[in-house]
């Protein structure tokens, strides 16, 4: 057995192709990206080493700090929108209700649809002339509430957060249901015998026991919100006047529209650090709270 499983040559054949691709096209670029972030470069003419200047300029750049603020709003908005709503539906569907599987499948559906298509669909829904939102206000006789939703710099970001919610509530719900299924059913049977209501069962069994997953899910929402790109790129392109710019869209703009690659790479490094911080935080939380059934 060991001759077959411990053969150095066959191990190399199994591991090296993937590892080389992964190292060359993922690990090396990350390290190289940190280096580029210290340069002033358009990748063609000779580049100049400028130290931390890109980072200093970034934090003086009103558009970047605006994008950072939008990302934070996005994180907060997504947390408020996703966790309670997903938990609400998750808890209903977890209790062997008729059609549970059907509802789960339907709620999950938007998260597999291409972000560009979702963004375009909602630009039509928000359209000021024929969009459903304005027509809806017209029908219920509140035409005064009609707006040019995505062109309004105070409303555009909020409108996008609604779409994010539409797209991903079902996804987070399924994660939470998966956690609920791990709770031994004997707990609920015992509660049932003691006459505990469904609400008490949720409050004292389900919620405390899925708390670790809720924390992981929260981190997922945070890193997810940092990485959003498609929706904003399609719905507003960061506009009007950079009002909905995110770090990701601003990075694309700086790197591939104005060709300031060093500046763009610095935004990439900041995003990487933010993602790693939130994942590190989750590992810390996760390790301290493992529940044994």
């Amino acid at each position: 057995m060991h001759n077959v499983m411990g053969n150095k040559k066959s191990i190399a054949v199994f591991v090296l192709p993937a590892f080389i691709i992964y190292a060359v096209f993922a690990l090396v670029p990350i390290a190289y990206n940190v280096y580029v972030s210290f340069l002033q470069t358009d990748l063609m003419s000779p580049s100049k080493f400028v130290g931390f200047k890109n980072y200093i300029n970034l934090f003086r750049d009103k558009t970047f700090t605006g994008a950072l603020k939008n990302n934070i709003l996005m994180v907060i908005g997504s947390l408020i929108a996703h966790l309670p709503l997903a938990l609400f539906f998750g808890n209903i569907l977890f209790q062997k209700i008729k059609g549970s599987h059907f509802f789960q499948t339907v709620f999950f559906l938007p998260s597999v649809i291409c972000g560009v298509a979702v963004g375009l669909t909602w630009t039509f829904v928000y359209n000021s002339q024929f969009g459903l939102v304005n027509k809806f206000f017209e029908i219920i006789g509140m035409g005064g509430l009609q707006k040019t939703w995505l062109a309004d710099k105070d409303l555009a970001l909020f409108c996008i957060i609604v779409v994010v919610m539409w797209q991903f509530v079902g996804y987070h719900m399924v994660i939470q249901i998966a956690a609920m299924k791990n709770i031994p059913s004997s707990y609920y049977e015992a509660a049932e015998i003691d006459g505990a209501s469904k609400w008490v069962q949720f409050k004292s069994i389900t919620f405390p026991l899925i708390k670790p997953i809720l924390k992981v899910d929260a981190v997922l929402i945070i890193t997810g919100s940092l990485k959003y790109y498609d929706l904003v790129a399609v719905m507003t392109g960061g506009g009007p006047n950079h009002a909905t710019e995110l770090m990701s869209t601003y990075m694309f703009y700086q790197g591939f529209r104005t060709l300031k690659y060093g500046y763009s790479a610095a935004i990439g490094v900041i995003l990487l650090v933010l993602c790693m911080c939130s994942v590190g935080l989750s590992n810390l939380v996760f390790r301290t709270e493992t529940i044994e059934f």
Binding site: V4, M5, G6, N7, S10, I11, F14, V15, P17, A18, F19, I21, Y22, F25, A26, P29, I30, N33, V36, L43, F88, I92, L93, I97, G99, F103, V106, F108, L109, P110, C114, V116, A117, L120, T121, W122, F124, V125, W166, Y171, A178, K198, I213, L220, T223, K227, Y229, D230, V234, M247, M251, F252, G255, Y261, A265, G268, L271, L272, C275, V279
Partner: protein
């Protein structure tokens, strides 16, 4: 079991909430489907109702003038190539990590799983520069290769978990019968891991099919673009011809929905499993 009046009332409330959200999920898509058959005038005057006729004119225009089939074809090439390579290579690594006997296997697993938390934004500028020097910019390879690398962490996480839980007896019997490692892997392990391979393949496919960023950056020639980029081009060219754009969106969504209806168990399982670790 008979429900009391109060319980029945709560039950009705629950179903009302569920149905409301079902409508919210499906209605925008359904509205889009209906709108795709309308003319622009109908869209403005009668956004809620049924179209006057279910003519395919908008679709024909999207295909003929909007080059949707070309984009569709490009998306298929990129997604299929990347999925095949990444599934084959990552299943081999997963097997080596789960079963073969070497010192660095645990470390190798950590290195691959680390990739789950890395945002693609932290590597696109260097990749652009590398592909530029290698002359790969504006070729499909420039999109396929990074997608393969990005797919590894999630794929290895899922398949390593599955392969680690398989019983060892079959491999032992195969070794006794004189099989070599390649026969064991391709004739025994691959077939019995089919369900996890399908999960990984489908989730990877969806991620690549939906991706906008990489093709947008690495491709410049519109004849090589994928569907998501093609849709954004539509936005510029047909700024006022909404119904054709809507038809193009429907063409993009339909394959995802069909695959979802067909394989939704795998998709839900895979997307949730891959995410919770990251």
């Amino acid at each position: 079991m008979k429900l009391s009046a109060r319980e029945r009332f709560i039950m009705i409330l629950k179903y009302a909430a569920l149905l409301l959200f079902t409508v919210l999920c499906l209605y925008p898509l359904f509205w889009l489907l209906l709108s795709s058959f309308k003319t622009n005038t109908e869209l403005y005057e009668n956004p809620w109702g049924l179209p006057e006729s279910f003519s395919l004119g908008n679709y024909i225009q999207a295909v003929n003038e909007g080059h949707i089939l070309q984009y569709f074809f490009n998306s298929v090439i990129i997604a299929v190539a990347a999925v095949l390579v990444s599934v084959l290579l990552s299943s081999m690594v997963s097997y080596a990590i789960a079963r073969m006997e070497w010192k660095l296997s645990g470390f190798m697993l950590q290195v691959f799983l680390l990739g789950m938390m890395i945002p693609v934004y932290a590597m696109i500028v260097p990749l652009f520069s590398m592909f530029n020097k290698m002359g790969l910019l504006n070729t499909h390879l420039a999109v396929i290769i990074p997608h393969i690398a990005i797919a590894f962490p999630m794929a290895i996480f899922i398949m390593n978990g599955f392969m680690g839980s398989l019983p060892r007896e079959m491999e032992e019997a195969a070794v006794v019968d004189g099989c070599n490692i390649y026969q064991i892997f391709f004739r025994i392990i691959m077939p019995i891991s089919k369900s996890s391979i399908v999960t990984v393949a489908v989730v990877t496919f969806i991620n690549i099919w939906n991706d906008l960023l990489l093709p947008q950056i690495f491709l410049t020639d519109s004849a090589k673009m994928t569907l998501p980029v093609g849709l954004t081009e539509f936005q510029g060219q047909y700024a006022t011809n909404y119904v054709v754009e809507i038809a193009a969106v429907i063409i993009t969504i339909i394959p995802s929905i069909i695959v979802y209806i067909w394989l939704h168990r795998h998709i839900m399982e895979g997307m949730v499993a891959g995410a919770v670790k990251g």
